[in-house]
Amino acid sequence: MKRRTTAGFIVFVILALVASACGKSGGANKDLSGEIKADGSSTVYPIAQAVAEEFGKDAPNVKISVGESGTGGGFKKFCNAETDISDASRPIKDEEKTACSGKSIEYVELKVALDGLSIVVNPSSTFVTCLTTAELKKIWDPGSKIKNWKDVRAGFPDKPLTLYGPGTDSGTFDYFTEQINGKQDASRADYTSSEDDNTLVTGVAGDEDALGYFGFGYYDLNKTKLKIVGVDSGTGCVTPSKETINSGTYKPLSRPLFIYVKKTSIARPEVKAYIDFFLDNVSSLVASVGFVALHDDDLQAAKQTWTTAKA
């Protein structure tokens, strides 16, 4: 009895594997074939993966691969003609532009989604609901020695302040420092840093004195453990949410996410169809992976850029 069920199970697994290999139906693009290679930012990865997954259902014979070498690593491969699409959590930098033009690689830059950098504190810090950009700068400035909440604003309690943030090598860090401190990579160094936002979530949730910043998606999925702090950039306090990030009222910490497409790859029908699909569907997919859709105007602008490039 036991032996037969084991054998039966094995047969079942084999059949399942075989069945999953064949029997792909596909949709409008089911006759397309070929390969599409994407690589770059691990922040943008969930978006790229979601789109690839849905496109794969529509065009099952197109092989899509997405890598996570980092925005910098992705551009290196992109400018070496090794990939078709580069995912980036920041715009391409001058050194990278030089590398690309050195190998005669022309590209199209497309904004595809928004990430809202959220300021979070431990739920026990009930005294703070909003911070101005000036106060954030006071806390995070390179020369800052603030170690207590009372030094941030008069009226705040006498409570130690511990800081959490992304590693110095991430696009999040680059963007935050540029917007808040005025210069990219200018920041105080004595904070708990991690590349992994989940670690930061655990840190802030477990430390009563904590203040940290990371992507909106990670706050959104851990709302019960964290307290969000609104940002006032001069026009009133704005709390990050899908609506405020999308409309642009949450500023200056809504950062755009990009894909770069190699011009010579556009000649291939599968790439053309893929980017068409990408721009048509990204806004409905990003919510499920923790990001926010572009404002309609920006999305139309991106589609316009793409239409021009396709011609």
């Binding site: 050194e95 110095t168 090598d169 670690t199």
Partner: protein, 300 residues
């Protein structure tokens, strides 16, 4: 000693010896390959950053503005974590090896040895999270006051446990290879198992045990993910293992997988650090090799 078909056999022998030599040369080719991959960018780096500033500077902040390139904080972190790992793995590994080789029954050994080898197969990422989410909060923060979320102690201990199977397995193989006749002679003179283990087997197997230790230590110095996850990513010039610290390997992996554009001075630091680590382990291995050879002479 030669037979009538000597010539054909001898050419065959020569071909085989050549093939074996080629295998040995692969190791050199690998080293050459590593040096070549690292050299270009390292030289370029040291043209911008004076080597003395690199070696003696006390602040490491290449991606900040202004950039600072002193590698001492990374060096102390690497040494502290590897040192703790060695303190954990060497005695535990040797003890395990002695037990399995001299005291355990064949059945116990056949089960325990492979089980420990499974420990070697746990992905280092898993070990890293084990250190961060279990060792630090549940163990260290109760036993040692002042331990921070990221700390070198937790990382060092877990790196030690990671190299434990390596040290134990290779030492144990070396000890089992000591001929029974040596042990029997000692037993014949009335020694206990404990004395035989300590005074006969371990000294006779010393070169193998030494090799296991050096391999383990080299591995600990080069370990990447455990320290990246558990020791943190904040350079810290300190001798206190309870604090967070960033090792050379953490910085390398963080930067190569991160958003720093290739070609910038911040990216080139990867190569400079890679070369430094390479030179460090080379010096370590060179001196241990000489040391071990001296011991080998005495017992063979």
């Amino acid at each position: 000693m030669t037979s009538l078909t000597a010539r054909r056999r001898r050419t065959g022998e020569r071909v085989i010896k050549g093939a074996l030599l080629a295998c040995g040369v692969v190791a050199i080719a690998a080293t050459v390959g590593i040096i070549l991959s690292l050299a270009g960018e390292t030289i370029s780096f040291f043209r911008t950053v004076p080597i003395l500033k690199f070696l003696t500077g006390r602040e490491w902040a290449p991606t900040f503005d202004p950039a600072r390139f002193g590698f001492l904080p990374l060096l102390t972190a690497t040494l502290i974590v590897s040192g703790i790992a060695a303190v954990v793995a060497f005695p535990l590994g040797l003890g395990t090896a002695i037990y399995l080789s001299e005291f355990a029954s064949s059945r116990v050994r056949k089960i325990v040895k492979p089980t420990l080898e499974v420990l070697a197969g746990i992905p280092t990422v898993v070990f890293g999270y084990f250190a961060l989410l279990f060792v630090t909060p549940s163990l260290l923060q109760h036993l040692v006051p002042g331990v921070k979320v990221f700390n070198g102690l937790s990382a060092g201990i877990v790196v030690g446990i990671m190299i434990l199977p390596l040290v134990a397995s290779i030492s144990e193989d070396a000890m089992r290879a000591v001929p029974m006749s040596l042990r029997e002679a000692a037993f014949g003179l009335g020694s206990t198992k404990r004395v035989v283990a300590r005074k006969v087997v371990v000294p006779a197997a010393l070169s193998g045990i030494g090799a296991a230790f050096i391999l383990g230590l080299s591995r600990a110095i080069g370990e990447t993910m455990i320290v990246a996850i558990a020791a943190g990513q904040q350079p810290n010039l300190t001798a206190d293992p309870r604090l967070g610290m960033e090792t050379m390997t953490t910085y390398i992996v963080k930067t190569s997988l991160g958003d720093t554009p290739a070609g910038t001075i911040a990216y080139k630091t990867i190569f400079a650090l890679g070369t430094t680590l390479f030179v460090m382990t080379l010096i370590l291995n060179f001196f241990s090799q000489r040391f071990i050879r001296r011991f080998r002479e005495q017992y063979e």
